[in-house]
Symmetry: C2
Subunit: 380 residues, 2 copies
């Protein structure tokens, strides 16, 4: 199964979608795309990956030229399910088959400095920032931005990895020693009420839809819950968030889903990060929206019309981190929809999520109380 | 992929569900069960089956003893996705692994005479019927029931296959010559306003849920559309239908989904047929109910609590028979959800369905008008 070779060249009119990466996002893309008549091929170095049961798997390193060629053969389109895809791999693929989202979106999404520069270029408010290339640069950045500030790696950061908060001058030296050697970025430490995110989609013909804003709660740098639609979102906030999403989608020539994390601060939104792909903060759409982010991503990259992002009730998405309680207890909660990823439990590892949906905000609170008897929900 | 051998014995605590048959029902069971953390193995003689991309496939005849043994090895539970499974195959499997629904349900569901006898035994109204074993028996049955009547094969009938309406005495001889040689059944030709169906589920712990009644429209013996919830269903009708479903579920010791087709006749419901499995008239639940019939079947056979059968709006399911219009046109209709089966188009073949959902009956009519521009919907 999981290491079957590709079936050989597919005639044009292929219905085969290639996904770089075979993790849970690939799994959920396939679950959404198969009913639309598509088939899937994954490029994934690890065995037993979450997507491995849902299509062909080319089990190889992303840098393996021969595997890349085999992977790309006969595909309708290539997409990817995480940011840390080697850009060179996508460029190789893009020579033979359409790659959506375009590699340009990825190049920006995988580099926090380029993200910030894109925000600045498009007039999107963001925390003050400076590139840090050496120790002198760090000192200059602290001089300009002040403390507290956040020192981040420019690349390969996710789920809170690759960042340190600097509160006192005494913390600067140790942080530098721990993080030096890779390109860095210093950002002002921003005070914000909460983190919201806007998940938006641009179709191949340029149409754009936005899902209602979700409110995200993190713990230990990992997303724990998203509530959608977020409470207390004014028309103005909705417009601002959608304008930010649309500006980025258009600027990148993006096709597919793009998520933007926004700090809800005193003076308005500050854009924090983008993800040029389906995003954890959009998982609630599987059960809480007319069309899920996964289906809309597939629709976008295959040239189908986008589906409605309207909500179907009020939702909370709760990540299952580390281990999962008895599935019977979870699905016994009214309105709870379980999504497991087929991953072995391990501390700090996302192994699934629960989408809890109710027809009213009050109903959702009642159901959350029941789910809280099953799952740790301290901050939901 | 599609003919990979089984991975060998699975330790107890297996999450592997075996499905006899790899058609579209198996495909949709897997799509619903994978997010719950289950994996699938199919026993299917044909290559390139609709379920083949969604798990291991043992490609073999249902009578192949060695293949049956390999199929059953290490499974959590076995289920089946059509009635015409050889009973002997299930009995062989049941010696080593739980089989749900129980073979008793199947034995009744695959024989129209036993169905009728079960209805009669449980006091469930049905059309008058007589077993027909020979030509004399046919004449006696016509004598008792009168014409018009319907001559049916007892077994292997579906989608209108294996039945003939006898209106005139002159039609009796030719029908007998065409159908003789297999066990037959004569039924009174019943006048009814419409066909409704109740899809119900019984969990492993004995709990029962019923989906709202759907109204089915057939053409050329093939189900074309189901509307749910059906219009004009009184509380009394709802109670009667649910009582029929519950009586059958309990009598059979059924675990899983069971569908009952009901004629809505002058004097009340007449039970027509049962399907001891997920059923085409329940496909609307994928997008129009809180929990789909597929997920509830998986929950039932794996001992999980059943999910809510509540509707999420008003639905019409439209089968795609023979060929499918451009998917882009279908998914461009607001509220349309496309479910293709990965089957090659062929006249009279069900290759997929569309679930059209709207938040109100009026909204559904508007959307149906739009879908009608894309699909033939003469009788929806």
């Amino acid at each position: 199964m999981s290491s079957a070779p590709p079936a050989g060249p597919t005639p044009s009119g292929s219905n085969l979608i290639g996904v770089v990466g075979g993790g849970q996002l690939g799994r959920m893309l396939a679950l959404a795309g198969i009913p639309l008549g598509f088939r899937f091929r994954f490029l994934e170095p690890a065995s037993g990956c979450p997507a491995c049961d849902l299509g062909e798997v080319i089990r190889a390193d992303y840098h393996d030229a021969e595997a890349l060629a085999a992977f790309g053969r006969g595909l309708l389109v290539v997409t990817y399910e995480f940011e840390n895809v080697p850009a060179a791999a996508l460029e190789t693929l893009a020579a033979g088959v359409p790659v959506f989202p375009p590699p340009a979106s990825l190049a920006i999404g995988q580099d926090r400095l380029r993200e910030k520069e894109a925000f600045a270029r498009l007039g999107i408010p963001t925390a003050e920032f400076r590139a840090v290339d050496d120790r002198l640069g760090l000192d200059a950045a602290i001089q300009a931005i002040g403390l507290p500030a956040v020192l981040k790696t420019r690349q390969l950061g996710y789920d809170g990895k690759g960042q340190r908060v600097l509160r006192e001058p005494s913390e600067v030296g140790p942080a530098w020693e721990a993080m030096r050697g890779v390109p860095l970025l210093l950002e002002a430490f921003v005070k914000f009420r909460r983190e919201l995110s806007v998940v938006c989609v641009r179709g191949a013909q340029g149409g754009v839809v936005h899902y209602p804003l979700g409110e995200n709660v993190h713990q230990d740098g990992i997303l724990r819950t998203t509530r959608a639609p977020a409470a207390g979102v004014s028309d103005r906030m909705k417009k601002d968030a959608e304008a930010i999403g649309t500006a980025l989608l258009k600027d990148f020539g993006h096709v597919g889903v793009l998520a933007v994390e926004l700090f809800d601060a005193e003076a308005g939104f500050l854009a924090n990060e983008i993800a040029p792909r389906v995003h954890n903060s959009g998982h609630w759409t599987q059960d809480g929206a007319v069309t899920s982010q996964f289906e809309n991503h597939i629709r976008a990259i295959t040239g189908l019309p986008l589906g409605s992002p309207e909500v179907r009730g009020w939702s909370v998405m709760v990540n299952l981190v580390g281990d999962a309680p008895d599935p019977a207890r979870i699905v016994g909660v009214p309105g709870a929809h379980l999504h497991l990823y087929g991953k072995k439990p391990r501390p700090g590892r996302k192994i699934g999520h629960v989408n809890l949906v109710a027809p009213s905000p009050e109903g959702l609170e009642m159901r959350l109380a029941l789910l809280g008897e099953v799952l740790p929900l301290d901050r939901a």
